[in-house]
Amino acid sequence: MTALTPDTLLIQALNGLASASSLFLVAAGLSIIFGVTRVVNFAHGSLYMLGAYIGWSLTRHLASFGAFGFWGGVFGAALLVGIIGVLIEMLILRRLRRAPELYPLLATFGVVLIVQDVTLAVWGPEDLLGPRAPGLTGFVTIFASRFPVYELFLIAVGPLLLTALWLLFRRTRFGLLVRAATQDREMVAALGVDERRLFSSVFFLGAALAGLGGALQLPREAVNLNMDVSVVVEAFVVVVVGGLGSLFGAYIAAVLVGIIQAFGILFLPKVTLVLIFLVMGVVLAVRPYGLFGRVAASERQRSPAGDRVLRPLSVTARVLFGFTILVIASMPLFAGDYAIGLIAELLILAVFAASLHFLMGLGGMASFGHAAFFGIGAYGAALALKVLQWPMAACLLAAPFAAALAGLLAGWLCVRLSGVYLAMLSLAVAQIAWAASFQWVEVTGGDNGLLGVWPAASVASRGAFLLLTLVVTVATLAALRVAAFSPFGYAFRAARDAPRRAEASGIDVRATQWAGFVIAAGFAGIAGGLYAFAKGSVFPTYLAIDKSVDGLIMVLLGGIGSLTGPIVGAFAFGGLEAELMASVAFWRAILGFVILALVLVAPSGIMGLFGTWFRKARNPALPA
């Protein structure tokens, strides 16, 4: 740690401002795209990463042209990434315009996976060192410290681009249409504006900004394969803290995040990971729509479940379920250890997915951080076993209690918001929990995790553990189904579909949603507790964003309009992932393509597809 002198502080502040610029470019693109198309583009970090890689290649090829080569490479990269953005919009997202709003998000997850493997295949796993910017390689002396000129240049880029974008939006017809469409895109179409061209151009702009942000990083940091997810999470924080749709807010928030990180490393190295999410949590708790955000007046909330009505299980479905349970229960008699272990794991994933579906499908609250409760359940069970020396049954009970307790706290914050804001706040809460599990080494073992979480002797064999898992899973899923059709379930769904009317008919919407949040967290905890014993260990990755994303994919893949959806989704996704990871090198790309194919063919999930087939078969006159 450096000594704290005024010039170290200044240098750190300047460092923070320099990193804020690239972050602002990514966040601005994300915000513009979301504003007009309502697509939460999770692949925006991938576009940033592609900008860096493509910029690396272009600047190398053009190196002989000096400054022209470098800047040509940087802007060429931005241009190419813009075109990639247009292709993503035209080939994938355009087909999903009428799908519920979370399906485009799922598609962008697929793009993230594909881009990861394509980048790995083209540029290899090693970090790549970029060129330095000709003419900006020197240093200036600030007090007694040497500060790179390129960093000063980056500091200027942020406000310059902010001004350029402001002029674009205020002074051009394109900007006018973007602002109008951000408020009410259907009305813009009714006034004769071709939405498709507007969407494509907005994607071009947003993607090119991300690509530029990535390419501008070349002289600063080595290009690597982890750039995508880290930057997209930070960009989400920036967009939400600044207020969706406010470019000025995004810039201020980017500076805030940049500075916090620069000083965090200096003063609080132990909690750097938590810090920006803590700030985001505080901002959203005080100003739910961000620092400069406003509630869009014409925001039309669409239920993520579409207009599918929840129905009790049909006789056929009951028979199918019974049969499946029987087959799984008899597996120890004929199946091998690997298959038994896999099925137990898939059952646990089904409980996790069902708990998230309870929150998303029935409650209309899409959480991007549900894995936090899964992980807290796992840690709860593991700590009860290792520290308190409780018997296994008590540990399995401790898991949901720990998770529900965390859900009580997180839910209190989250249910005050809805839509993307709720998703982002839940992500922040989950990142705080993840960072705690990672950095609170004394209790959680940090990166090394907690090992030796073995089941009691009576269920130590794989077969016995499968039966235990099956019993818990069936009981849990049945309980969730009963809850969905209970008076609470009706109130919960009413709060989703028409909060005002629910309120007017005597339902305390907040309290209902809070209770639903706690229930969903508790059930995720059950899954986490079982998972700890199934794996014999607990790691911070259980709480990580990837796990939350897995949950979202399972729920959306299965279809959000049916209670069976998450179970089918968990088996489809978990099974596919396990099989692919074990046998194929580029399993991410394949998984990405499978997700894209499913989303494009069955935009209401696997169960939605079945549902349409069944209805068509029964009554061919119905429209699709």
Binding site: A180, D184, A189, A190, L191, G192, S298, P623
Partner: protein, 239 residues
Amino acid sequence: MTQAPMLSVETLDVHYGRAKILHGVSFEARSGEIVALAGRNGAGKSTTLKAIMGLVPASGGHIVFEGKDITRLEAFHIARMGVGFVPEDRRIFTELTVAENLAVGARPVTGGREPWSVERLVALFPNLGRSLHRLAGHLSGGEQQMLTIARTLMGNPRLILVDEPSEGLAPVIIEEMARALLELKREKLTMIVSEQNLNFLSAIADGVVLLERGVVRHIGPMSTFLADESLRARYLALS
């Protein structure tokens, strides 16, 4: 009258999900006419207008505008052919200024008519002239409704679909609205106006299409409708 209708709606069906909202709705509008779509809440008036505009998909039937089938066209395409839509809940761009709202709607004129300009619109709606550079969200309800119509006119449409123009407005504003619509009629603009306010309709409309639960119950001239006690009783028995 031998002239072909400007717009004909032929046995139009619309579904929302699995619920059928419109059942074989048919009617016509001739050039320069104001057709009233009358009926109670939930009768299908708005849905009919949105279906013509391409904002909700038709599941059956045809919509023909100036001889061309527009049933499956997208909204922006229909707008460019000369159909304007004035939505019921105003839906102005509240974060844009009045002038910017008008600019979003601007499209070149077709067919040798005098194009609408901000100046002409200000003459029609004097209130808007005083607030061109204010945020549209700061206008009063009546002014917002005027702006919605003005914004649509900027696209130089030949037919406009006006959804519940008098809803939630004070009587004096409703009178101004009727005056403006009659002025537009003198400009040979064809209009389909969905409305529940019979006084307002009787002041402007030439013909009436009475909708009830997605079915056309009566079509005829305004004068017959006004003279027929039993029809009016049915229509006026509002909830």
